[in-house]
Amino acid sequence: MADILLVDDETFLHEIYADFLQLHGHKVVGIAYNPKKVPAPKGWADLLKDPWVSRLGLTGFQTTFGTSSLIELSKQFGGSLTDVEPALVELKKVLPKVAAVGLPAAMPGLFQQGQCDVMYTNTQTVATLKGKGIDVEFVKPESGAIAFYTTMHVAKGTAELANAYKYLDLVVGKEVQEALTKPPYNFIPVNKDVVLPADLPMKSLDEMSKYVEHDWAKINPLRAGWIEKFNKEMAK
């Protein structure tokens, strides 16, 4: 993995929000549901109750959205950023009723086929499904939607530093950021000059400062163990 080079020269980053250096996109994680099949859930804990639990699609810690959703679920039952045990315990109790447990990449397909009607996912997936004409709505859970960022980093000791900066500048520039908000990417931009897509759960990027953020430096050493735990708890 490359070492991160901190950006000292901010002169070319004048177009983006002051908080979002090195970032080139956002994703917001919450709950997606089919409004024609189930009512809107209010929060993470609702996922484990009827009528949602029998239509729930679960996924594990293999991706960012899965990990952060399970952390938030765990917090509802006394867990924390580094303790997901309560979520696994509660999931195990309702496991026979759950509609589907799949790989993260398979979840949109299962939702589209009606195999599950409620799942935790990010705004990008919801926008993609909506774009294909599928009945899906996004809900910000009561305890807060989760925000995470997709970042770009310059490799330490690179021979192409000037070009790397030019590339960073290009990606956070208005043209590329606008293109990234459209299908099939459906990103949330970092550039304040870009108009936000209409179906996002926020009116402006300032609202995101109120969203839940996770400290991934604390999560990463634990994730391998969580993946193994999830396997064992979910195995038939």
């Binding site: 790989l103 086929q113 195999q115 994730r223």
Partner: protein, 297 residues
Amino acid sequence: MTMTLAAASETGGGSLRRYLKLDAWQLALPLALAFAALFVAPLLLLVGVSFFNDDKITQPGFGSWIKFFGDPFNYKVIGDTLLLGVKTVCTTVLIGYPLALVYIDLPSRLQKVLIFIIVLPLLLSVVVRTFAWIVVLGREGMVNQVLQGIGIISEPLRLLQTELGLVISLTQIEMPLMLLPLISVMSRLDPNLRDASAALGASRWRTLFTVIVPLSMPGLVAGCLLVFASSTTAFISQTVIGGVRLIYLPLLIWQQSLVVYNWPLAAVISLSLVVSVLSVIAALSYMGRRSSGHLHG
């Protein structure tokens, strides 16, 4: 081996060999080198990587092996993976063998049609075939719609993300691998042998079990080996149709290598898959040789 090659060299290949002044081993050298570079060397690298304790591959040791085999859960995963292969082999034999028997008795025109139908799935990528099964087996899929339509069931059946659904779909996906070797061997069966058996008073069932099955054994064994190897390692089908609650070795390998980046542990699990699948294949081959050995004795 040399004698067979010498016999072959008397025909077309011989003149080229004499012209190039090459021995048999020299002719085999390009393929052997490619095999060594592209298969044996990476396999040895995999074995080497497995003997490290940490995911950064800096401390040599048996740590990863102890971690994997010290956890009883993993024995269940190995067992389930091999059992999935066995179940798929059984279902493909049960459906494929009668189909092959039908094939050999068909007129040549219909044989061509049947071969086309059998090979047709192979023209599609296995990923496409796997995703098609979601549409068939899903809650709102074809099977449930038909059964609910005729009134056999009132609630949709749970077929996706169950082992039953997985075995059904793997049977279809792997069927060409069983049928093609079987048909190839059974087409070369001397039809006089069947007639002779009937003429000597054997019933059709007796002819089947004492004449046809032993003679078709090489094709049956080849089909079983291919289906077993393919179904135990069918990562896409296992995870997409079986879901993440059915845990098999390919899923663990993917998690350790492409999600967690723990290469030594991924190497350990990969080698466990290779060794366990090869052991079953070796046993199947041995049984196949034993049962057809007495035919030529």
